[in-house]
């Protein structure tokens, strides 16, 4: 079968920007109301006190911090992955990068809201930020929470730029096609992009730099998030492995999220030609790899604790080995290890459906993993007399549900404003590799990210 022509690409990929079906509004409406419910739940909590959550003594952190770590983890989908793919010139990246980078930005926004949502006095969140207060008091730079604040803001800024840069030519494309108010908006967004060789060259340079810079940032972010737990002397938190363990977990869950997002887009916007089984197969392999890496870490972590047999740690260990968390623990292992391995290691199962199923279990499994890292340690911290238990309240559950809805909603809106697949990169692929989408997605020859100057700006 023949691949899409340039005109097809313009039409099909820009279609979502011009046409909107009733299904879209319906879905948006449903998601919106869930988000709204979560928002009211939060207002209710602010008004009556954090007591409306299920938190207690000694389990002072629960669902909220779980969500925080989870969403920051998800954010590692995009920027990190697309940066790696760009740097390795993986040709098949082209249709993937943008929806990946978008995930990062939104997941970060959601994740970053939880350190505020969970505060006893959320209206004072700004004390976490270093600003010259009238009292001349600065925040405590020893506190991992402060490092979070820095790491996350940096990552958010970085990945926003990383998302924005390659979108400029597409904004230009839309600008040229649109008219009226839209034209004005996209005119601003495209920063007067003309597609001159100089502009192409600048863009290329900027993206090279960003791709290199964003990698260590991404890695550092989840390392620092892991330090929230690794730094204080809490049984089974206080672990040197947490840095890489969290980063691996983050990429793991990130890829899963990406696969799900792609599948949805593919269905919703009929992008079958661009997001092909080939992509899902590749990402599936990547997911399998990360699943095994994750498995390695969980074994390493629990092995050392079990072998070391240190009483305070064993108290926590046993609650997931043969205690109140055993069920959740094994569900997690199934979701993160067994099911993905079964599906992804068998070629015939590595279909779109297959990878999506695996991805969904991974997302569930990784949320559980965050929960099982945080809560059991707090329930059984040292002195048995002070041990406690935790059950989430409806407020926490509502807010958690709200974040998933928010993610989907933001994504839907985004796909209405920005071409969800990088049009020009795709065309470039098509140009370089002739017409076959199959080969267009094969690894590009180690040529510069962007074709040689003189090539006219795509889209005219």
């Amino acid at each position: 079968m023949a691949g899409p022509s340039v005109e097809q690409v313009n039409q099909e990929i820009l279609r979502p920007l011009v046409r909107t079906s009733w299904r879209y509004y319906l879905t948006a409406g449903i998601l919106g109301s869930i988000v709204l419910a979560a928002f009211f739940a939060f207002l209710y909590q602010v008004n009556s006190g954090i007591g409306v959550s299920g938190l207690d003594r000694p389990v002072f952190w629960g669902f909220y911090i779980t969500n925080f770590v989870f969403w920051i983890g998800i954010s590692h989908a995009g920027t990190l992955i697309s940066a790696i793919l760009r740097l390795t010139h993986a040709g098949w990246r082209r249709p993937v990068t943008r929806c990946a980078e978008a995930i990062t930005v939104f997941a970060l926004m959601i994740g970053a809201s939880f350190p505020i949502i969970h505060l006893g006095r959320p209206y004072l969140f700004f004390w976490l930020l270093p600003y010259p207060s009238v009292r001349g008091i600065w925040p405590n730079f020893h506190s991992p929470l402060l490092w979070d604040a820095f790491a996350i803001t940096t990552y958010l800024t970085g990945s926003t730029i990383f998302l924005y840069l390659p979108t400029i030519p597409d904004f230009a494309l839309v600008r040229d096609k649109a008219r009226g108010r839209r034209k004005k908006i996209y005119h601003v967004l495209s920063l007067g992009w003309k597609g001159t060789p100089r502009q192409w060259h600048r863009l290329e340079m900027a993206m090279r730099i960003m791709a290199v810079v964003i990698l260590p940032v991404a890695v550092s972010v989840h390392t620092i998030v892991s330090w929230d737990f690794a730094m204080p002397p809490v049984p089974m938190w206080h672990s040197t492995a947490f840095g890489p363990y969290f980063v691996a977990g983050a990429i793991f869950s990130g890829i899963a999220a990406l696969i799900i997002a792609m599948a949805l887009l593919r269905k919703a916007f009929h992008l079958e030609q661009y997001l092909t089984p080939f992509h899902f197969d590749k990402l599936g392999k990547l997911l399998l790899l990360m699943s095994l890496v994750w498995g390695y870490f969980i074994v390493a972590e629990r092995m050392t604790v079990w072998y070391g047999n240190e009483s305070s740690e064993m108290a926590v260990y046993s609650s997931s080995a043969q205690g109140q968390f055993t069920h959740l623990f094994w569900i997690m292992v199934f979701c993160n290890l067994l099911i993905p391995f079964f599906i992804l290691s068998i070629k015939n199962f590595r279909t779109i459906t297959g990878t999506v199923i695996a991805s969904i279990t991974v997302v569930i499994g990784m949320w559980l993993e965050r929960f099982l890292i945080i809560v059991p340690s707090l329930e059984r911290k040292y002195l048995p007399f002070t041990w406690g238990a935790y059950r989430p309240s409806w407020v926490e559950i509502t807010i958690t549900a709200g974040t998933f809805a928010a993610m989907a909603l933001l994504y839907m809106i985004f796909s209405k404003l920005v071409p969800i697949i990088s049009v020009w990169e795709l065309k470039l692929g098509l140009r370089q590799e002739g017409q076959s989408p199959r080969s267009a997605l094969a690894p590009a020859k180690p040529s510069p990210i962007i074709a040689q100057p003189g090539l006219a700006a795509p889209g005219e």
Partner: protein
């Protein structure tokens, strides 16, 4: 949602907030002129006396200026006044030496309790409905007087009864004089944990109708038969203080301590050795120990003298109490009995004590006499490290501990019609809550035409009253107290009111005096004083001339010095018991077998209600601090429970928190189970104090009251309630009960979530 609607929401929020801010009375109340001049922020410590239990510890109250909402001549307003902010022990006081127990600390919540009665009340609804209307003190006293005079003219003995807690102060004297002048019988005393049995035993053994004092600080070996002397029994603070010295007060010597009981109390938890003896066999065990000492010539039999001779078979060397004979009934192996006996004998000074459940049995007096004899044999009577009796300062007209009849007799009389009661006065006694249903106290009191209560709270008894004349709190009144035990000195505590009355209340003795004057005639003549402080000044005068803590030139100096120090105490430090035998000679005692109510096969468990660390006999249940202080054994808060041995529970398929039914021949109740390792398999125990129907917002409708299923058994000689002589059966009642524990390791998942 868009930004505007968000602003709307938060605006609503802040608007309501603003509203109830203006709604707060502080913002509308008038400001009264302060009645006392105080410097804000400057604290003054004023001496007082703790009345939260009979021990009578000396306290000092931290008083600071503050803002109080008060009613003054009918108007509600704000006044700047001295407020009690903290209660601490009076360091000079011989009983507690500056220390306090949890109850003493919680005293503030009595004075500031939201459920305190704030002004005189007259019943406006049907009896027991709790519907009252506010009246003036003039009306209130007139009402009381009219009923009293009506009763007074009804011939002799006049049909007036006064029911009160046992008072160790001159309010007791006033009440007696008042009743006497009215031609009414003496006051009826009621406390659930009345100590009549032990007092009687001490009278027979030592010639002192009084609670004992132990010189633990100098003891080398202590064996306690059921006495929770570190918890709620006798004089807890002084005993805790001495216990600390027993353990670590002497560089080279750490005193040993053995506890004998059927359910581990806080005291038992601190013992070096905890011995389980079958309920009712404590006296037998004591004699078993005595037998070994005598037989092995560890102690000369004669040293027990008359106290021994009281015991049947003593002179023959207690042949019926050989370890082998005793082992069976007590459940303590004979070898262990011998070891214990030799241990005790090897350590001088050694002292034995008995209290609590072993006395609350049909053979309670026998058990007490046996332990007293053991003490005598050990040579610990009146010797350092032994047993003493706090010398009582000879104060004018103090009622002796013997006086007064029992509530049981009163209600029986009323129900039978044999005793006429037209007017009943109540003061700090709550028998409707704290007596077995079989006594039918409520039924009896409902027959009384007119009941007046002086109490500060509406409880199960005072809710039956037609007139309430609320007393000041003990931080607002003149208080005196003669400690019955807890010190080797002769002590008379005294305190002026640390703070002014918060509410429109009046001290009970002052109301009595007022009433007496209005009644005129003999009554007025019998009670010449104007106020209670006059009574006290007159009563304390003789002490000025005895050598003690205060040497003052004039009586006025002495009077002010007594108030400054919080009382007077003698300087001579020792008090040995007088010659035994006491007033009337007593037949030799053979330790009888304890008789329990309820057939053993149908009711297989001994039922052991005990004085809770949180609530005592229930008096402290209306204080939030006590409800939230975790129980010292179960760590439970805000609830009641039944303690069951884990093996027993396993046998009956009962798990922690399961609701179980406890049934005696006299009633049944339901409460959640606590599996406690510190209780015998054939015993179930319950704390007393919860299960109030009427006792303010914190206590009412919380938990269940074990007293209600007790059998009306008595110790025959004293007629005292044998509250440990009931048998029960238990069974799972289905479902979980409300069990709230502080101990997290016992908050098993999902147990805790079920409690939510």
């Amino acid at each position: 949602m868009d930004r505007r609607s968000f602003l709307k929401i938060s605006a609503v929020g802040s608007a309501t907030a603003a509203l109830d801010a203006c709604g707060k009375p502080e913002h509308q109340l008038i400001r009264f002129i302060p009645e006392e001049d105080l410097i804000p922020g400057i604290a003054s410590w004023k001496p007082g006396v703790c009345t939260r239990c009979p021990a009578g510890c000396g306290i000092q109250v931290r008083v600071m200026q503050g803002e109080a909402e008060v009613t003054r001549d009918g108007k509600l307003g704000l006044i700047s006044m001295g407020l009690a902010k903290k209660i601490e022990g009076n360091p000079e006081h011989p009983v507690n030496r500056g220390k306090l127990c949890a109850w003493g600390q919680a005293g503030l919540q009595v004075t500031y309790n939201p459920d305190r009665i704030r002004f005189p009340l007259k019943r406006s609804g049907p009896r027991g409905s709790g519907e009252y209307q506010m009246i003036s003190w003039e009306e209130a006293v007139t009402e009381l007087v009219s009923h009293l005079s009506a009763a007074g003219s009804a011939g002799r003995p006049s049909p007036v009864a006064f029911l009160t807690q046992r008072l160790r102060d001159h309010r007791g004297m006033l009440i007696e004089k008042f009743l006497d002048a009215l031609g009414a019988p003496p006051a009826v005393h009621f406390e659930f944990f009345e100590q009549t049995v032990l007092r009687r035993a001490n009278e027979l053994s030592f010639g002192h109708y009084q609670m004992p004092t132990f010189d633990l600080a100098n003891a080398d070996y202590v064996i306690s038969f059921g006495a929770d002397f570190l918890g709620t029994w006798n004089s807890p603070v002084s005993q805790n203080f001495a216990y600390g010295e027993l353990r670590q007060g002497r560089p080279e010597l750490r005193g040993r301590f053995v506890q004998v009981e059927a359910r581990m109390s806080q005291t038992g938890a601190n013992a070096d050795e905890w011995v389980y003896a079958k309920p009712g066999t404590e006296g037998m065990l004591a004699l078993g120990l005595a037998h070994v000492m005598i037989a092995e010539k560890l102690r000369p039999r004669e040293s027990a003298s008359a106290m021994g001779r009281l015991i049947h078979g003593w002179t023959e060397g207690l042949q019926d109490y050989t370890p082998d004979k005793v082992a069976g009934p007590t459940g303590v192996e004979s070898a262990r009995i011998q070891r214990l006996a030799r241990d005790i004998a090897a350590h001088t000074p050694a002292v034995a004590m008995i209290g609590g459940a072993p006395l609350a049995l049909t053979n309670g007096l026998d058990n007490a006499l046996a332990v007293n004899a053991l003490n005598a044999l050990l040579g610990s009577v009146g010797k350092p490290g032994g047993i003493f009796f706090t010398p009582q300062p000879l104060l004018e007209g103090l009622p002796s501990l013997k006086e007064g009849s029992s509530v049981r007799a009163l209600s029986e009389g009323i129900l039978k019609g044999s005793s006429q009661v037209k007017v009943l006065m109540l003061f700090n006694a709550n028998p409707v809550f704290a007596s077995p249903s079989a006594w039918r106290v409520q039924e009896a009191f409902e027959k009384v035409p007119f009941i007046a209560s002086f109490g500060s709270f509406v409880d199960e008894t005072s809710i039956l009253s037609d007139l309430i004349l609320p007393d000041h709190s003990y931080l607002e009144s003149w208080v005196d107290n003669i400690p019955e035990s807890g010190t080797l000195l002769s002590v008379a505590s005294l305190a002026a009111p640390p703070m002014a009355p918060l509410h429109h209340t009046r001290a009970m003795p002052d109301v009595l005096l007022d009433a007496a004057h209005r009644l005129g005639g003999d009554v007025a003549k019998a009670m010449p004083w104007k106020t209670y402080s006059d009574v006290l000044q007159a009563a304390f005068e003789p002490l000025a001339h005895r050598n003690g803590s205060i040497s003052a030139k004039t009586d006025d100096d002495f009077w002010s010095a007594t108030q400054r120090d919080g009382g007077w105490w003698s300087s001579e430090t020792k008090a040995s018991p007088a010659a035994p035998g006491a007033n009337r000679p007593h037949a030799q005692v053979k330790i009888t077998e304890a008789k329990f109510d309820g057939d053993e096969t149908e009711y297989p468990f001994h039922f052991l209600p005990y004085a809770s660390q949180q609530f005592g006999d229930g008096t402290h249940a209306n204080l939030p601090w006590m409800q939230e202080m975790s129980d010292v054994i179960s760590t439970a808060m805000w609830c009641t429970w039944v303690e069951v041995n884990p093996q027993t529970a396993g046998r009956l398929g009962i798990q922690q928190g399961d609701l179980i039914e406890v049934a005696s021949p006299h009633g049944k109740l339901q409460a959640p189970a606590i599996l406690s390792r510190g209780i015998a398999p054939d015993v179930v125990a319950m704390p007393i104090g919860q299960g109030h129907e009427q006792f303010g917002r914190y206590a009412s409708g919380r938990g269940v009251n074990p007293i209600k299923i007790l059998a009306p058994r008595e110790e025959p000689e004293t007629g005292e309630l044998a509250w440990a002589a009931t048998r029960v059966k238990i069974r799972p009642a289905g479902g979980k009960g409300k069990l709230i524990l502080l101990a997290g390791s016992e908050r098993e998942w999902p147990g805790k979530s079920q409690q939510r």
